[in-house]
């Protein structure tokens, strides 16, 4: 989230699209109802289903899943054609005026540079013209035919209301009503917020869905303001934290990148990370990259990390592919190229697409280790549960070690919410049986492997033996010790560069925050963006001052928000080019002539003059990007793409299937179905009564929603002879499930490109373990396709067929 949950109360208009906040995040959704009740805000829901969020909306419009880009580009087009643009903001704070290289273009659904063989783009033309001064060329008058604004205008011009309706199935009048309501927020004192979740991310073009809304929000001037922003709701309690801390194949902590094979040494790695400003006087904060990187390496390998060995740069793995993400690992596993797998609080048999492939893959492992508070289907993937898990137990040669862990109620530490708040919590109960904390298990694995390496030697033991592990009890590091390490400390006296007689931070003391980090080995810091979480002032994540003097939901004294306790990102854009807030009643930042004043932490140098230093400080341009340059694999602008399985063709290029640079593995090519055989269009989602695959273990939630079902329209029910509450079989190219049928008016067939599209809704949540009724699982049906930029599985749109059937276990 750019903003926070409590900030949503400041919105004039809330758009929930690509998510279902009332069901998946009910207590966060409270702030939508607050905005409605106390600001008179309106709520728009755009979704294939009339959800429980839609039930309290002011306006609902249906949309075919996966066609969001067409809808959003249509909105951008509407705003441009009807002059509903926050012009001062757009001109000053976006790259609208930047001039793009000659040669860039878009035709037949593809940008310049596409290579069909490689399924990839040559992105060299997707960039600015750079002047002799090294800065990007701009035309502030927006007259240049190749300035970003004119290219954008041209790019979205094809997304007329008629075109949107044809692609999305949204009736034209409903689209126009939504467009009118959204366009009103181009007024400087009207703010819209976007709330989205996996309904946008889990497509082969997921990142572009989000970009399209971000671009719309920018031209409406809604980013950086109270009540505005791009707000990713995020699914799990600490998935924001795990991402921030880089527990991913391609990341290190704080969004530093894992090196690739093309970066065999530190200097090469840093060369592409100089991040010189592209416009005069701009901040380009990533210029500090090396300070964060070296401090991170010092946190990992302590004294062994030295200038002479490039701070142990060799210890870091170098990737030969963009990422060994979960889908790639299951592909390799299925090829017999993975022997061991550790599932810590993760249930891939349920959570990963194409279950038949997952079962086959797990069966090829030599060993599987699970760490979980609960039974999981994954830990018992080898156990036969009739048609709910029909495996040949004896033939599965995988050794499985199941370790019981504590759950939150028995644990201590911090969780990062979607609003980037790091909140500390304390243990309330004694763990059951012999359950242990994950920290102890990870420590034991490390220490026991170390012992073996010391005794036996083996493959490159240095990074293992030298890993910094100087905890009070190395067998069970304490949460506070780890938190202090994340914050970072001075390793020698840190002298003031302006006055070397002055010590800023004495050796051994915690740094105040990342602004004190250095790249000469004198500081260490586990995760720079978190720095400030636990400094000499104490555990800032445990702060509990819930006052809110402004009444605008800042709560600056409540726990700690990264970065630097900043609650709203890009908040420098909440003021105009004179430093005056766009809306004085929702003041966030104000320039007092010499400095920025705020109850939040300014996201701009505190003395950086408005109009000179632009507020998007992380970008080399200093402004936000309507044109993404080559930073996205599938285009600098979002363009409509169909899902890999779709009932209709891409109207811009009928030959093209899915995202032309979406990630599919060779072995999966045969696992796609087409609309002749699988005529209905399915989507997957959560229900409010359950959390993922956990609460089916809870007797209460199991009672509230006991059994696996699918949702279909009355029209599809009539077409297939299905009655409410009866059993249906749903099958895709990958597998078949049985489910109860919920027949509803909340799903309606859509008219798209001359065809009637019937939608089948398939909730997640059921499996063969726990208190709820045993059920089939949605991922039996879904496709193992990866998003083009970040490999998120595209499980929100896939083709199925459907027919009446008998109950599981009963012969039809």
């Amino acid at each position: 989230m750019t903003n926070s949950w409590t900030d949503i109360k400041n919105a004039d208009l809330v758009v929930v699209m690509g998510g279902n906040a009332a069901e998946a995040h009910p207590c966060g959704f409270k702030w939508v109802t607050e905005a409605k009740a106390h600001r008179g805000a309106k709520l728009i829901v755009v979704d294939p289903r009339y959800t429980r969020t839609a039930s309290v909306s002011d306006y609902y419009a249906p949309i075919r899943q996966g066609s969001d880009i067409a809808f959003l580009n249509g909105l951008i087009n509407y705003c441009i054609t009807n002059d509903k643009v926050q012009w001062e903001y757009t001109k000053a704070y976006t790259n609208a005026a930047f001039i793009v290289k000659e040669g860039f273009g878009y035709q037949d659904g593809l940008f310049t540079g596409y290579d069909e063989e490689k399924r990839d783009y040559d992105r060299s033309t997707w960039d600015y013209e750079i002047g002799e001064d090294g800065f990007a060329k701009v035309d502030p008058t927006l007259q240049h035919p190749r300035c970003v604004w004119n290219l954008l205008k041209q790019h979205v011009s094809v997304y007329t209301p008629e075109m949107v309706s044809n692609i999305c199935g949204t009736p034209k009048d409903k689209f126009l009503r939504v467009a009118e309501m959204i366009a009103e927020t181009s007024a400087p004192n009207k703010v819209m917020t976007s709330m989205y979740a996996l309904g946008w991310t889990q497509h082969s073009h997921g990142a572009q869905n989000i970009r399209a809304m971000a671009m719309l929000q920018l031209i409406l001037g809604n980013i950086g303001l109270r009540g505005g922003g791009m707000n990713a709701l995020r699914g799990h309690s600490n998935i924001q934290g795990l991402t921030d801390l880089g527990l991913m194949s391609h990341l290190l902590t704080g969004y530093l990148n894992m090196p690739s094979e093309a970066e065999p040494d530190y200097d090469t790695y840093m060369k592409s990370r100089q991040f010189k400003p592209l416009r005069p006087g701009q901040t380009s904060y990533w210029q500090n990259y090396s300070k964060f990187m070296v401090s991170f390496q010092k946190a990992m390998w302590g004294e062994v990390a030295a200038a002479e060995n490039d701070w142990c740069y060799d210890y870091l793995s170098k990737l030969d592919v963009p990422a060994y993400d979960i889908l790639r690992m299951f592909e390799l596993m299925n090829q017999g190229r993975v022997n061991g797998y550790i599932c810590q609080g993760f249930n891939p048999l349920m959570a990963v697409p194409d279950r038949a492939k997952v079962t086959s893959s797990l069966s090829k492992l030599k060993f599987l280790i699970t760490m979980d508070p609960l039974e999981t289907e994954t830990a018992r993937f080898w156990e036969n549960h009739g048609e709910f898990n029909n495996v040949d137990t004896r033939s599965i040669q995988t050794e499985v070690i199941q370790l019981p862990t504590v759950c939150f109620a028995e644990d201590e530490g911090s969780l990062t919410n979607s609003g980037r708040w790091l909140q500390w919590f304390w243990p309330a109960a004694t763990p059951p049986g012999e359950a242990r904390p994950d920290t102890a298990i990870m420590a034991e694995i490390l220490l026991r492997m170390r012992e073996l390496y010391k005794k036996e030697g083996g493959a490159f033991p240095d990074p293992v033996l030298n890993l910094s592990w100087d905890y009070h009890n190395p067998r069970e590091p304490e949460p506070e010790e780890l938190a202090r390490e994340i914050n970072g400390r001075a390793l020698v006296d840190l002298k003031d560069p302006a006055d070397p007689s002055k010590v800023l931070v004495p050796a051994g003391k915690q740094v105040v925050n990342f602004s004190q980090l250095r790249d000469d080995g004198s500081t260490m810091c586990g995760c720079w963006i978190y720095s400030g979480n636990f400094n000499e002032a104490g555990n800032n994540m445990a702060r509990r001052d819930n006052r809110d003097p402004s009444g605008l939901g800042t709560h600056a004294g409540w726990t700690f928000a990264w970065p630097l306790n900043r609650r709203t990102l890009y908040n420098g854009a909440s003021a105009d080019t004179q430093g005056r807030p766009w809306d004085p009643s929702r003041k966030l930042l104000e320039w007092d002539g010499t400095k920025w004043v705020s109850d939040d932490v300014p996201d701009i140098g505190v003395n950086a003059k408005p109009g000179e230093v632009q507020p998007f400080i992380m970008n080399q341009e200093g402004v936000s990007r309507l044109f993404a340059r080559g930073l996205m694999r599938d285009g600098p602008f979002p363009a409509h793409l169909e899902p890999f399985e779709s009932p209709v063709q891409n109207v811009f290029n009928r030959r093209m299937r899915g995202n032309p640079v979406g990630r599919i593995f060779e072995s999966d090519v045969g696992r796609f179905g087409n609309a002749d055989e699988f005529p209905f269009f399915a989507t997957s989602y959560r229900l409010t009564e359950h959390f993922h695959y956990w609460t089916k273990h809870n007797r209460v939630n199991a009672a509230l929603q006991p059994e696996f079902f699918v949702e279909i329209s009355e029209e599809l029910a009539a077409l297939r002879g299905v009655t409410a509450g009866s059993w249906v079989r749903v099958w895709s190219k990958r597998g078949s499930v049985k489910a109860r049928a919920v027949v509803t008016k909340r799903i309606r067939p859509l008219q798209c490109d001359g065809k009637t599209v019937h939608i089948v809704g398939v909730p997640i949540h059921w499996g063969f373990m726990g208190a709820a009724r045993k059920g089939h699982s949605v991922n039996t049906l879904t496709m193992p396709v990866g998003e083009a930029n970040i490999e998120t599985p595209a499980v929100k749109a896939f083709l199925v067929n459907l027919e009446p059937t008998t109950a599981p276990g009963v012969q039809s």
Binding site: P26, I369, W421, H697
Partner: protein, 199 residues
Amino acid sequence: MNMELSRRGLLKVAGAGVAGTSLGAMGFSEAEAAVAAHVRPLKLANLNETRSICTYCSVACGIIAYSKGDRRKGERAELIHIEGDVDHPTNLGTLCPKGAALKDFVKSESRLQYPMIRKPGSDRFERVSWDFALDRIARLMKDDRDANFVAKNKAGLPVNRWTTTGMLAASATTNETAWATFKVAKALGIVGFDNQARV
């Protein structure tokens, strides 16, 4: 006050009430006959309160966990009830249907209690000691790492990848656990390292 005296419990000890009503039927004043406590005593009295954060979605609601026994004093603590914390600025004491039933997640019948091992081809888990399980894991992992670690690529450049063992990290562990997990996984050279951010 007996904290475990639930409504069910009250029903089981309702004999006095029954006797009373029977007396009433025999002609005593109805008002005199009613001896049962009308209003159930508050079940939270004398419990310990602990501030926590809900483990489910990333709204991260503040909760109060009510336990019998105090872990801070080294006592055995049993969770009795969970309720939203009205002091928390986001949820203001409210909870969703999952959060409101957190107690029955913590006390689920399918909570794991002991390390277990399933041998190749077996149809059951067998209980093992932590020592056994951890030694076995260290052995399996080291053997696989030693056999398959890629120290250098074909060009002879150091790449230090271990691709044959992967790890999925938990989406509901603390940042502190995540940092400890990160350190171990990255130091071992596990590149097939992912979390639940995308699914």
